[in-house]
Assembly symmetry: C3
């Protein structure tokens, strides 16, 4: 089940972006380097480059997420692509063939890229396995599986502040085992050579599973934060609390909420990250979220650059620009 293979085309270039798993270090570094180029575009008076003019990108959101959709829409527009937003009522269209029929129809309209958000793990892979050769698929979050653009914007933010990955200690705090963000971050941190990755959270983190991912497990935050360079807080998924897997919000904050006091355990120049939107007073204290070590809003800015990078790499591949017209079979 080498799912990651389908992400790379025959020339070794990025075709789909579904998961960090299986991508090699030069590819991840290439994405970060491309994103650096786009980072300046967003600060210009004219925040727009003509790279994807005449390309059509469809946002297929099977799960509502105004925030994530907006970042992809802005990234696409700043690349001058045309964007179509399609919100899909999950119940009506995700049953087997009807989803594939819908995709084939969009393909026939010469859509070039699908940005897919779905609450089922594997949905973006499933779609990528079935699209026509000229189409690229970007995973904008699938169930508890992966959220690779989020992970790459986190890596971009870390590199901006810490330059090298190879000497860092990074802690991820929260309900890691149910988090697509955490899974993608761990793969990216490993691939980029971070020597020590710690995951800090409640008993839902099983040490044996974590060992497979190459991380160290802490259930006590005071131990886990000792001397780290980067603290990544996860959003508490409140809906999971109902199942009694997690303690109350109050208790959660007491145990795993990032306070100024706890942050002092980390290195003095540690940065604080969060994928947003933050639950103030639940997983993070406001004074920390808004404090001098927080880079949370920078992450949002870098998210546009990273998405521009991934979109332009997938749609600017040499196999698409070698002078051949794309045929209809």
């Amino acid at each position: 089940m080498k799912q990651h293979d389908i992400q790379i085309d025959k020339d070794g270039e990025l075709r789909h972006f579904l998961t960090i798993e299986g991508l090699k270090k030069p590819m991840l570094t290439g994405i970060l380097d491309h994103a650096e180029n786009f980072s300046s575009v967003s600060n210009r008076q004219v925040k727009k480059v003509p790279l994807l003019r005449g390309k059509t990108i469809a946002n297929l959101f099977f799960e509502a997420s105004t925030r994530t959709r907006t970042t992809f829409e802005l990234a696409a527009k700043r690349l001058s692509a045309d964007v179509i937003n399609i919100n899909i009522n999950t119940s009506a269209t995700t049953k087997g063939e009807s989803l594939l029929d819908m995709l084939q129809n969009l393909e026939s309209m010469q859509v070039d890229m699908f940005v897919v958000r779905h609450n089922s793990s594997g949905a973006a892979h499933f779609i990528a396995q079935h699209v026509a050769p000229h189409i690229s698929v970007i995973n904008a979050g699938d169930g508890s599986h992966a959220h690779p653009t989020q992970a790459m914007l986190d890596m971009f933010t870390i590199r901006r502040h810490k330059q090298e990955f190879t000497k860092l200690t990074v802690a991820i705090v929260g309900d890691i085992m149910h988090s697509r963000v955490a899974r993608s971050q761990i793969h990216a941190l490993n691939t980029l050579g971070v020597p020590e990755i710690r995951v800090i959270g409640p008993q839902t983190i099983i040490p044996k599973e974590a060992a497979h991912l190459g991380v160290h497990v802490y259930h006590d935050m005071h131990q886990g934060l000792q001397n780290v360079d980067v603290v990544i807080m996860l959003r508490l998924q409140r809906e999971r609390m109902e199942g009694a897997l997690l303690p109350s919000e109050h208790e959660y904050f007491h145990m795993y909420g990032l306070t100024e006091e706890k942050l002092k355990l980390a290195k003095a120049d540690a940065i604080v990250m969060h994928p947003g939107p933050i639950n103030r007073g639940v997983e993070i204290e406001s004074s920390v979220a808004d404090g001098p070590q927080s880079v949370i809003l920078e992450q949002v800015t870098h998210g546009i650059s990273v998405r521009m990078a991934v979109m332009s790499m997938a749609l600017g591949r040499s196999s698409l620009t070698d002078g051949q017209e794309r045929g209809q079979s």
Copy 2:
């Protein structure tokens, strides 16, 4: 009640596109020829021409249809027009004057074209009768009356595969009498000179009415498909089945579903068409829909070209480009 007259401006050019009925053969052929030009645009690396830059097109959808709206939106964007999507809650605004007030407001905002989808037959005509002189109206489906861009993309697909219309036998299969698609197709096939048009379906097709349309009625599919060049399957409108006008889905498939076996009755090089979305196993067998004779996905592709053709013809008329500024009265 010469409704079709309002479709043509004083120079004989296409102003509105409401129905195939009443349009002459050179006009239909002209649309097909224009669409051929645009067909290559969608296969280019840069799928965009500046023909309608600075024009504003409003999609007025009184009836939800993501699929149809998407094709019009893509066609407009590939012509470089600005697109406004307006979804209208039928209950709130379609009562008499308030609809006209809304249209006048949009006209005053200098909208150039309304693309109208409505569940009442005649809605697009009503709107066309009341708009200001500079505005064009495209019917994107009105009740059971007409769906002219669908019919023209079907004609485009037939011409691509069969070149000449004048020697063809074409069969349309389904609940023809309640289908706006079928009505528009029959008018187009007649005008383009198809000598034999067959309609195949249940008893809701009344032979006397059909005679007015110049078609031959078959209630038995095995007879109707004999030796045809083109098979057009209609989508079964499931909501009609509740009224007991049609048999059960299972029975419908048995009687009028297109199977590989039944398709053998047609000519060996017959093509299979369907306006989509298809109900697999209801009106068409999957192996036929995905088989070598199916041109269903090509139809979707040609739909963009045909819509680009109609939009650019209506908004590029010489009466609009003779150097006069459009005045506000």
Copy 3:
């Protein structure tokens, strides 16, 4: 609480457009003059100028208003800006910090302008007080407080027909005290030098409060309309009638509805205005709304020009174009 100060930047240029209150006459005249320039753009074949290419404008609508959103979206697109529409479920996001977090996220995505519609008075000011230095806020209607672009399009329309403001008598008819439109109009008329402003309406208009605004109060329409140059009718907010503050629709029409007969009390060349959408037969008779003195649809057209003017002034300020890149702190 000099709220209006925040509208002007250090160079005296328009940064936000939240309320007419506090803006000086040269600023209002400047907006009208800019709008004149844009007025011709909307009549061109290519209704588009590249002034705001590469700028990003977010429509933040906490209160649904297709009509108002459409005018801002069209104005932005005709200035070549990229537009993001964000409809916000009031209940979910307007509670204190979460709204500010959402705004900071959009700021971090390098959005340049927020167009804000909200059912709470002061919402646009609140947002303007909290945005980053490079961002402009336009008030598209906040509660019963202000609707400044509506007031300016009204002023534009009056100037087109009457040239000078300094000799006019203007009557505003309706539930003035609960109308954001009327408040903004009164401030604009005062600032532009209209010597006599009359407000005509039911007992909800308290003479003492009106005196503060520098207007004359009439409860009798026959007296109030005598010899006026401009009649501005307000839309009856039907939801207010339930509270028994206003008479029945029938009685309201009898007392304050504009009929042909009552209009004869005004000057022979008086113009009739209405912010729309009109309630025919409630606050205005159809024959008046559609009659020769009505300029209601012209107002809609001018609304695009005025919004283009305000948007381009706020985003084209010299402080933004002095060669400095905008920094992320």
